[in-house]
């Protein structure tokens, strides 16, 4: 009785083992790798690029290798034709996450196939990422290419794959946007101007009745900016104030305003004698030249440079003060003058 029980038990164990072997020998059912994507660092044809693959492992069987095969079709059953110009043979696995422990298999990798290998370990059904540097993109522009991704129990990408899936990517030439910046020399002159020359008003100044007991004065404004690498020079052109053959002598050197003298002069500063003018304003680097840069000192000489900048300059608004004194012997008449401001820049 005991022997029959032992025989039965032995038979049961044998049947169990056989059943287990049959079950364990069943090939794992291939699954589709989920959430597959391929991010290129650059899509330019023939460019050296890094390629980052992301996908979720689905099966949890043993994985010893992953194959990334670049083809002209994503369909695994089709013959794989390597994209023209592609070269992954020198790819460098720069990072990996999820299912890790892989190294680049230089023996089994080719120009269009990357094989990652490791000692076979059960994979985890998690999102995984693999980034390869030093890949030469396919050379055909504006073209779709594909990568067939498959996992293997073997360490060299041989045998039947466990899971697989494909991704697509597109090469794209660099896109250029062009524009031209012309030479700028922006100058505006008027009685009043906006600092960026966006508006201006007035083109004449009336100094009133001249007398030997009072200094007459007035102002105009100008604004100037340039992108000339060497800046600009601003000149004033015109005669002193005249009336027929009579004129009011211009100050040949910077001089104070003296009531009762014959004087005509200008400067570009804020003055107190008389109270007229304003200092230059704005973000630019334009500054008055020395003869016109002292408060309460006035000068006028036809063709003088009155302001300059040695650099490209943003806008500066400059106020020009006009000062006139006359002796009581100054012949009567209507005195006037026309001034032209001229800026030059080198480009």
């Amino acid at each position: 009785m005991l022997r029959r029980s032992q025989k039965f038990l032995s038979l049961l164990i044998l049947l169990s083992c056989a059943f287990w072997l049959v079950i364990s020998a069943q090939p794992a059912r291939a699954s589709l790798l989920a959430n597959r994507s391929l991010q290129l660092s650059t899509s330019q044809p023939s460019a050296a690029a890094s390629h980052t693959f992301q996908f979720d492992f689905v099966s949890t069987g043993s994985v010893g290798s992953i194959v990334f095969e670049y083809c002209d079709s994503p369909v695994f059953g089709y013959v794989c034709t390597a994209p023209t110009g592609l070269d992954v043979s020198s790819a460098n696995l720069s990072s990996q996450s999820g299912n890790v422990g892989f190294i680049f298999d230089g023996v089994n990798s080719t120009n269009n196939k990357i094989v990652l290998t490791r000692a076979p370990v059960a994979s985890a059904a998690v999102a995984s990422s693999y980034t390869f540097n030093n890949i030469t993109n396919p050379s055909t522009p504006s073209y779709s290419e594909y990568v067939r991704i498959s996992t293997y129990a073997s360490i060299d990408g041989s045998g039947s794959f466990t899971d697989n899936g494909a991704v697509a990517f597109a090469t794209q030439p660099a896109f250029s946007v062009s524009a031209a910046v012309p030479p700028f020399l922006q100058l505006c002159v008027a009685v009043n101007v906006a600092s960026d020359c966006s508006s201006m008003s007035g083109n004449s100044i009336n100094l009133g009745n001249l007398a030997n007991t009072v200094t007459r004065s007035g102002t105009s404004q100008l604004s100037i900016g340039t992108n000339s690498p060497t800046g600009h020079i601003l000149y004033v052109l015109g005669t002193t104030m005249t009336s027929g053959n009579n004129s009011i002598p211009a100050l040949a050197a910077p001089t104070t305003s003296i009531i009762g003298n014959n004087q005509f002069g200008i400067n570009l500063r804020n003055n107190s004698i008389p109270n007229v003018g304003a200092n230059p304003s704005g973000p630019g680097s334009t500054s008055p030249t020395a003869d016109y840069n002292s408060p309460n000192l006035y000068k006028y000489s036809n063709g003088d440079s009155i302001a300059t900048s040695a650099l490209p300059t943003n806008y500066n608004r400059i106020t020009v003060s006009y000062v006139v004194n006359v002796k009581k012997t100054q012949p009567p008449g209507v005195y006037s003058s026309t001034f032209t401001y001229l800026a030059t820049a080198s480009f």
């Binding site: 991010q39 794209q172 524009a179 031209a180 910046v181 943003n314």
Partner: protein
């Protein structure tokens, strides 16, 4: 001999005999109607069997029997027997159960409940009887049904559906089921009967693969709206897209040049990016500013090779980039940027795509949304953005859309720039790399 005798009968006798014979015939004809109905068996007509699947060994099926009873009688029990031949189903026939319907665990008929019915006079449903009796012995190929309902069922068409049935295992093989109705509850008094046939069939699997698709291209168009054909009707996809550069003309401090620019050297073009993908998880469109030669600000609108200063300096040959956050431009204050004027639907044919109603799948990133709504404008009230350091920056995506696949939706891309008065003169260029990433 009989003939000889008849000739010898008298005329009157012959008349009597004829009368008796006629009476017998009439009586025989009227007898079935005159007598109470008996349980005489008749052939069911219009018999059919509808099975919910013809796949061999398929389970959880519903077998629906259709038949027309000839006899008005109570039907209180039914026997259904599945055999390999029709003859085997007949009363007294030798029934061989179809393959897969014999042996332990191979139950084909003897399970389930009533799943449907029609045409029955009485509403009492039938139930499977696991014990059976009379002419019905439950087996893997024999189903015994009964109910307690003594009232007659009027003769006529009816159906009876029974669930939890399983097909025989052999492929492309006919099988037969005999239907026997009984007026009693014990499968003893037969009423009508008949046989139906069906067959298992080889399943035919049609396989097809839809390959991963990603068509992406960048080019130029003179179209400056959300509806115009960006390819000029030359093609409805990337094959009709061309151009790798565009020109936004000569910049002036008094204006913001926004593509398309048709004066002062502008080429009247906008940029476009066309995307088609069947990726179920959607796709993104990104760009990165290609780093040009020179120092600092290598990815902005610049004079290639120029030495530029770090920071926002407006006297070097690099126009300040708008940055990652969308910003409005002021004419004369140096800036360069990009925005997406619209999702142009002119190439879409697979689904309804209308920019003005927001019916599209490829959605602009907020920093590259020209107007912040689905109203097209030639200038971008929300401003522009441009990441100059080469960081891959997403500008549109379908990953958040209800429908994530994209059929040739077109990003209408606008570039804009304005110089400062000190921005050095010269030819300025920005280069970008557009990348599409699809997640399958």
């Amino acid at each position: 001999m009989k003939k000889t005798i008849s000739y010898k009968l008298k005329q009157s006798t012959r008349l009597i005999l004829f009368a008796v014979a006629g009476l017998a015939l009439v009586t025989a004809a009227l007898l079935p109607a005159a007598l109470p109905r008996s349980a005489d068996a008749a052939q069911l007509t219009s018999r059919s069997l509808t099975i919910s699947s013809g796949v061999p060994n398929a389970t959880s099926l519903t077998y629906t029997y259709g038949f027309t009873t000839q006899t008005t009688a109570a039907i209180q029990s039914i026997k259904l027997i599945m055999c390999t031949t029709a003859v085997g189903t007949y009363a007294g026939g030798s029934c061989t159960a179809p393959s897969g319907c014999t042996g332990g665990g191979n139950n084909c008929l003897n399970a389930g409940t009533e799943a449907s019915r029609s045409g029955w006079t009485n509403s009492t449903t039938f139930a499977r009887n696991a014990t059976g009796g009379g002419s019905c012995t439950p087996a893997n190929n024999v189903l015994c049904l009964d109910r307690t309902q003594a009232a007659n069922e009027t003769a006529g068409a009816r159906t009876l559906g029974w669930n939890s049935q399983r097909n025989p295992t052999s492929t492309n093989t006919a099988f037969f089921i005999g239907i026997f109705l009984y007026s009693d509850t014990g499968w003893t008094t037969g009423v009508d009967s008949g046989t139906v046939a069906s067959a298992t069939v080889q399943t035919l699997t049609v396989n097809a693969a839809v390959a991963e698709v990603l068509n992406f291209c960048v080019g130029t168009t003179t179209v400056d709206n959300a509806t115009g054909d960006v390819t000029g009707a030359s093609a409805d996809d990337c094959t009709g897209v061309s151009g790798t550069s565009m020109n936004i003309g000569t910049l002036d401090t008094s204006a913001i040049n926004v593509s398309p620019v048709s004066t002062n050297g502008g080429d009247s073009n906008n940029a476009i990016a066309v995307l088609r993908t069947n990726a179920v998880n959607g796709a993104t469109v990104s760009y990165d500013a290609i780093q040009q030669s020179g120092t600092n600000h290598q990815g902005t609108l610049r004079v290639s090779g120029a030495s530029c200063n770090a920071g926002n300096v407006q006297t070097d040959q690099c126009i300040d980039a708008a940055g990652a956050t969308q910003t409005s431009f002021t004419a004369g204050t140096e800036k360069f940027g990009m925005s997406i004027g619209a999702i142009n639907c002119s190439l879409v044919s697979s689904y309804t795509c209308t920019f003005s109603s927001g019916t599209y799948n490829l959605v602009r990133d907020s920093n590259y949304d020209c107007t912040g709504n689905n109203t097209f404008s030639t200038t971008c009230s929300q401003g522009y953005a441009w990441v100059e350091d080469g960081t891959v920056t997403q500008i549109a995506s379908s990953t958040g859309s209800t429908t994530k696949v994209v059929d040739d939706e077109t990003l209408l891309i606008k570039f804009a720039a304005t110089p400062s008065i000190t921005t050095p003169f010269g030819a300025y260029t920005a280069q970008s790399d557009f990348i599409a990433v699809a997640t399958y």
